[in-house]
């Protein structure tokens, strides 16, 4: 039996409705998409054995394997996958992931409720062929189809909502028991097409909301894999459990947003740049996060498919030069020792957010002489304030990739994006993104996005701080664990060495 620490209790295991990392981990065991992600993060055939783009890139035709079955033995057909996508975009489902697939023909209209769900450009030509038509280019559609939100839906589950955990799946495992806040138990699915390759018979996911407790349970040998490790414990973990700590780059960005709609940041680019320059990112990554993160000077993390990280030149400057330039810009922005900047850093309750805010406040104070107040808010209040942009000045922000694509990062600073918490409104930036979205040529798309990010970084509506890393403790008896940038680890790809 494999026991996995899984962070928060999943709020839902409905593949189309569930959001959040902990639900995703389980759903990838319970459902298999048309495509899949291999142990090292590579795109692989899954329920579909092959797929082909039409020459113009506006239609994807997928060929399903022969003899696919649901976990209850029923025959699985292409129509079940089509139904899953329709349900995902159906406004009645109110899915948080619907927008990922908005490029499917009529997708926008279906999500908005202007067209019926049946108008969606998804069609099962026969039991083993699925056709997806697009309104605009979506080159990473095959990778997106590996997302649990694109999971198929069993005919019996289409009418109403079955009880939590009672849905029928098609993955390598099926759910046999869900005790809320205690454990979720999965057993191998004998009807899975590749079941003979599955090695572990039973998997238990345990909620571990307190990382310090999780670490203790791991040490007491009650867990084989942890969801994370507490940052402050890392030096100790490296000393005592060193080989079991698995750290890998993860497609996520941690940055500070600056509210551009209010003073002091509205219309004061030198000030924003000064604050950015005053932050010693390598020091934060090394001393605060103990090398469980990479220092960031840009929004899009390295390792994103078909993209070059946009690192500004000053990233390599020695400390004295960087700080001198920060002070020069600070003065240019109209501040001095006699008239110091008074600024708030707003962050939501969390140990790591707190530690980073304390350190950045000290840097701004010690390099520039700014007077920094820390404002710690409870999560929902923080979200409300961040979105409303009435009270925020500098605030903690995060973006985690849904797929391996730079556009997903770039678009959060588009003028009308719901997550544009900085209120960045730059016509040139919007135009570049628009051009990238419409580009059929991947090289054009890429260059548009790179230019856009360079311009945006120079404008400093956000201050990148670090790129996330996934971090797990994995017992030596767990074999087949490979680090990958999506942090996806399917139980079917793991083996347990006999004790």
């Amino acid at each position: 039996m494999l026991r996995i620490g899984n962070g928060n209790e999943p709020e839902s295991l409905d593949p189309q409705k569930a959001t959040g990392v902990s639900a995703g981990n389980i759903l990838r065991d319970l459902y298999e998409g048309l495509t899949g992600i291999g142990p090292s993060g590579e795109l692989l055939p899954a329920a579909a054995e092959s797929w082909h783009w039409r020459a113009d890139g506006r239609e994807l035709r997928l060929q399903l394997r022969d003899g696919l079955r649901w976990s209850n033995g029923d025959v699985l057909s292409a129509e079940d996958f089509a139904a899953g996508l329709r349900r995902l975009l159906d406004p009645a489902t109110a899915s948080g992931y619907a927008s990922l697939f908005a490029a499917i023909a009529n997708g926008e209209a279906v999500i908005a409720g202007r067209r019926p769900v049946s108008a969606l450009g998804v069609q099962a030509d026969d039991a083993r062929t699925l056709r997806i038509r697009l309104d605009r280019p979506l080159p990473n559609l095959p990778a997106l189809l590996a997302h649990p939100a694109a999971a198929p839906i069993h005919p019996a589950d289409r009418a109403g909502d079955p009880a939590p955990g009672a849905r029928i799946g098609n993955g390598a495992y099926r759910l046999v028991e869900w005790r809320l806040q205690s454990h979720i138990r999965l057993q191998r699915n004998r009807h899975y097409w590749n079941d003979r390759q599955t090695s572990i018979g039973e998997v238990r996911y345990l909620p571990t909301e307190d990382l310090h407790s999780e670490l203790k349970r791991y040490r007491a040998d009650e867990l084989d894999v942890t969801t994370s490790v507490p940052a402050t414990q890392v030096p100790w973990i490296r000393r005592t459990l060193g080989a079991e700590l698995r750290v890998a780059p993860y497609l996520g960005s941690y940055f500070y947003g600056l509210n551009l709609t209010r003073p002091p940041f509205a219309g004061n680019r030198p000030l924003r740049q000064a604050l950015s320059l005053a932050i010693d990112r390598p020091l934060i990554a090394r001393k605060v996060l103990h090398d469980l993160a990479m220092p960031a000077w840009s929004l899009v993390p390295p390792g994103i498919h078909d993209y070059t990280p946009q690192v500004p030149g000053w990233a390599q400057w020695p400390r004295a030069q960087r700080e001198a330039e920060a002070r020069r810009l600070y003065a240019e922005a109209g501040y001095s020792a006699a008239k110091p900047l008074q600024v708030q850093i707003r962050y939501n309750t969390s140990d790591d957010h707190k530690r980073i805010a304390v350190v950045i406040a000290a840097m701004w104070k010690q390099v520039l002489g700014a007077e920094v107040t820390l404002v710690n808010e409870e999560w929902k209040v923080f979200l409300q304030h961040r979105r409303a942009r009435h009270e925020t000045e500098a605030f903690r922000n995060t973006w985690i990739a849904d797929s391996d694509d730079a556009f997903g990062f770039a678009e959060i600073l588009e003028s009308h994006h719901p997550r544009n918490d900085s209120g960045y409104a730059d016509a040139a930036y919007d135009a570049l993104l628009q051009a990238a979205a419409q580009a059929d040529d991947p090289a054009v798309r890429r260059s548009r996005l790179e230019v856009a990010e360079r311009q945006m970084l120079d404008d400093a509506p956000i201050l990148p701080i670090y790129f996330y890393a996934s971090k797990h403790l994995v017992k030596p008896r767990v074999e087949g664990w490979h680090d990958n940038s999506l942090d996806w680890h399917a139980s079917k790809d793991l083996q347990l060495r006999a004790p």
């Binding site: 709020e11 839902s12 409905d14 409705k17 569930a18 959001t19 406004p91 009645a92 109110a94 899915s95 948080g96 619907a98 927008s99 999500i111 908005a112 409720g113 909502d161 079955p162 009880a163 939590p164 005790r179 809320l180 806040q181 205690s182 454990h183 345990l206 909620p207 571990t208 909301e209 307190d210 310090h212 407790s213 203790k216 349970r217 040490r219 007491a220 009650e222 409870e378 999560w379 929902k380 209040v381 979200l383 409300q384 304030h385 979105r387 995060t398 719901p418 997550r419």
Partner: protein, 305 residues
């Protein structure tokens, strides 16, 4: 006695009503809603969810709807846990919390009264000082320090008990001790203080003067009235123990309902929070009622004439 019990139960209804009303409007006054998240839903999706749970209606209307549901025994659906009812969540968690709380209560009561009585009888001896120092330690260490220490010693160093989870009797012990310790210490101090006072009271002096054996004096005459402050303490303490402790549940990973008070409030799961608040309120009312009954039994002087 019966009429008194009847009034107690009658006043329970307005008590719970005030409780629910206060909680409801405080909750709704708090900024943010159940569907705010890091990812931020599209406005039309959020609007649809709000409409689905009637969160788009004015607060007084939602309150009316909620009360209407209550009359039918319906606590509503959880807003955070998709497809789950509040009654179901409480039904799953409450037995766990109650089992853990009962064990902790038993530990706290027997241990606390025994230690307090021993200390009072051996007043100012080395034993008394030692016990009271221990009780003080129990009171001065927060449970989030005690719980990890218990795990470090008994689960990691000695490997006697599991470090967490809710899986068989062995897994009850450490969390129950962590939960009981502060209550045990408080009860020990209360018992010692009250018993000390009673032992010095005139009627005990009189009993001593009559030459009654000390054992008889303590158990027949002194202990009963000395337990009155403990009883007062016990009512709310018992309800608190039964509904679990956020810290202990979090540190030991126990599927009780204590977490819902905090998590529900932080996640703006209005219905879940109201459900557990109501449940807690009902328990407190019940325990206070029982304490009142016990008060009358233990101290005949408070019996209404």
């Amino acid at each position: 006695m019966l009429s008194r019990a009847a009034t107690r139960l009658l006043t329970a209804v307005p008590t719970l009503f005030v409780l629910v009303g206060l909680s409801f409007f405080l909750m709704h006054a708090a900024p943010g809603g159940p569907f705010d998240s890091e990812r931020s839903l599209a406005p039309e999706v959020e609007a649809r969810l709000n409409a689905q749970f009637h969160l788009d209606e004015p607060a007084w209307r939602q309150f009316g709807r909620y009360l209407g549901g209550l009359l039918h025994g319906d606590l509503g659906p959880s807003l955070q846990y998709e497809g789950r009812s509040v009654a179901g969540l409480i039904g799953d968690g409450a037995p766990v919390s109650a089992a853990l709380g009962a064990v902790a209560l038993l530990l706290a009561l027997t241990g606390g009264v025994a230690l307090g009585a021993i200390a009072a009888l051996r007043r100012d001896s080395a034993l008394d000082r030692g016990l009271m120092l221990l009780a003080l330690l129990g009171l001065s260490l927060p449970s989030y320090v005690v719980a990890p220490l218990l795990i470090l010693v008994f689960a990691l160093a000695l490997d006697w008990l599991p470090a967490g989870g809710w899986d068989g009797p062995a897994s009850v012990l450490l969390p129950a001790v962590a939960l009981a310790l502060p209550q045990l210490a408080a009860i020990a101090r209360l018992t010692r203080g009250a018993l000390g006072e009673v032992l010095a009271a005139p009627w005990i002096r009189a009993a001593r003067a009559k030459g009654l054996p000390e054992r008889l004096i303590v158990f027949r005459h002194a202990l009963r009235p000395a337990l009155l402050p403990v009883l007062s303490w016990l009512g709310p303490a018992a309800a608190g123990l039964m509904t679990g402790s956020v810290v202990v549940e979090q540190v030991f990973g126990i599927p009780g309902i204590g977490r819902y008070f905090v998590q529900g409030a932080l996640n703006r799961d209005y219905t879940l929070v109201l459900g557990v608040v109501l449940f807690y309120g009902a328990l407190v009312v019940t325990f206070n009622f029982l304490v009142d009954l016990a008060y009358g039994l233990l101290d005949p002087r408070t019996r209404p004439t």
